[in-house]
Point group: none
Chain length 406, copies 2
Amino acid sequence: MSSSVLESLVIPNTTKIVLLVMDGLGDLPNAEHQWQTPLEAARTPNFDALAPSSALGRLLPVQPGVTPGSGPGHLGLFGYDPVETTVGRGVLEALGAGMELKPGDVAARANFCTLGPDGIVTDRRAGRIPSETCAKLVAMLKEKAARFEDVDVILEPGKGHRFVAVLRGPGLGGEVSDADPHKEGKAIPAAHALVPGAANEKTARIINAFMQRAAEVLKNEAPANAALARGFSARPHFPGYRERFQLRAAAIAAYPMYRGVAQLAGMDLFVPGGETAADAIAVAREKWNDYDFFFLHVKGTDMAGEDGNFDMKKAVIESVDTALPQLLALHPDVLCMTGDHSTPTPVKGHSWHPVPALIHGKWCFADGFARFHEKHCRAGSFSGLASKDLMAVLLANAGRLDKYGA
Amino acid sequence: MSSSVLESLVIPNTTKIVLLVMDGLGDLPNAEHQWQTPLEAARTPNFDALAPSSALGRLLPVQPGVTPGSGPGHLGLFGYDPVETTVGRGVLEALGAGMELKPGDVAARANFCTLGPDGIVTDRRAGRIPSETCAKLVAMLKEKAARFEDVDVILEPGKGHRFVAVLRGPGLGGEVSDADPHKEGKAIPAAHALVPGAANEKTARIINAFMQRAAEVLKNEAPANAALARGFSARPHFPGYRERFQLRAAAIAAYPMYRGVAQLAGMDLFVPGGETAADAIAVAREKWNDYDFFFLHVKGTDMAGEDGNFDMKKAVIESVDTALPQLLALHPDVLCMTGDHSTPTPVKGHSWHPVPALIHGKWCFADGFARFHEKHCRAGSFSGLASKDLMAVLLANAGRLDKYGA
């Protein structure tokens, strides 16, 4: 079914939906931990109390065998096809840096480099300059390379030699080649339109002017005396939650990347006071009457997974369990707990494994399982559901979808 | 796989397939009934005897989260994609009223209304006149507004102010706007072609002539002195069972709507002597040698679900169980028992939940479960099968599909 048919079924209601994402939640049975997963090994009395009257399942983020990044992982959970709905690298980088992107903006990943006297790139990373130096150089560019024609160039320093550039002005396109030779020993190529048209040509022209000005501004600096830019992409424009689902949606996330993806889905953004589930839930409580849908993001599970730290992942899960009663006290009509992808501790990185998920609501189909973990989820009533179809199920459980056909 | 590829694999055989549909069969674990579903709570010795040597599964009628109406629900079971194969509202209304539709017919939902002296609709439902009055007014129209140009207008009275109109004649189109202002205080708009073309324009012309004649015929009546018509749609034309599957198919259903959808699939229609499974099975026995495929429809499960009546739903299921030996005595090669959608008693309406299904046949993959109910079906060997793919599985079990490729 096309999403437009789904959207044609959306009806208004006063019900409230909470999507609590424990980033990278899914894991593998660990040989060193009696073949348990962190979710299984964790002491979770509050999850356990909820489990029997909940539906369990495992979500497939993209397609079998495919490991999603955070962008596609969250886009899927938000009900967007993560293959059809692509978000460019520059845009993800800008969102991850906490930059606000407006419709029409074009973003790029950029970094400082070292140019030889003959204009040849001798070090693409300028000796991996410290972040403080990067911030100083970005400040210089902000002063002297901030506007070309009618376009503002907005810069944000990153870690080491990295920074992000956002172009904001009328008539820009995102299909532009990299101003980056991708290897040492070559000159910086001029950017050019990858698809003919005035918008892409304008972006290329602005970027080339910026690159030239940057080299002039930085020419007496060392080792970073020029800049490179790549991954140009326009802020994608797709209909948001209000338009698609008649939902006023709030995103509560400590890390900018996740607020950024939520921003693309048209959610209002909130920064909690800390990184725990309790911090996020406190914001939800404060905004409870103003929104219909709450996306709460907890990062710690993913970080522990990336570190291969079983005990840390278990501890983060237990902290979510401890905070859960505060969320349940708000009486959401539909609660879903899941992850955007798996980050198994033995893998020490994102993986392709389906992600355990729990849906609680009065019509959820109570699976009757004693606990919420990967193994019960495997046998649950929505095992194998595509992440992109989750929102339809949550809307249905919330009484927000009309019947299809007579 | 596209349906045309599937159809290219169909081979003839002498096997017989029975599809026994308990409308709205699927339900939820009920908190008030020890978390059992009606199918689980029912005493079903005959289902139980069949279950261990059957394959179990849960069918997805349309897509996750989407609640189907009866039309899409049955089209899916019959092997038609319920999203691609749409049936218009007028056509469903006509089928539900038991009207036979021929290729080329255009149907509409109609009702009597009250017009003020200035031609403004003052009551779209004419004070909700009783059905007897409706029948009397329809009889007047049948006499004096039955033919325009070379088109017959066939009318069937419904409940209260409602009736159905079918246009039958050469060169009619179904893409025509409503002759209905949809609210009081406005004049009746003339129908017009929504897509340009002689066929749609002819339908609009005929309908407008009918509307004018109806107002003349009814002008001295009160409160119903005019008619409205909406939901115009042409009888869809898609290949039937004989053409697609080389099956002589019989539909045995007490309610006209289900015979109607079966009619669209090219089945021959039979009205059983009553509403029970035993009544439907008696017809199947009588016609056993004349057909390869039998669709048997039992409505009671859906009605009990709509009423939220757990005990009644259980009782209807038990009556099907009691009748089952009569069906098994016919020795169908493949028997499938399922529903067109779920109508859970706590929801009191159709729902999006997958539908329990049982397939019995010598090659079905005996799942070995002790009973046939939602929870075993959740773990069964075809859990998550799309309803539209069921027919392929039944054909395969009946030895009616050739190998694909060498």
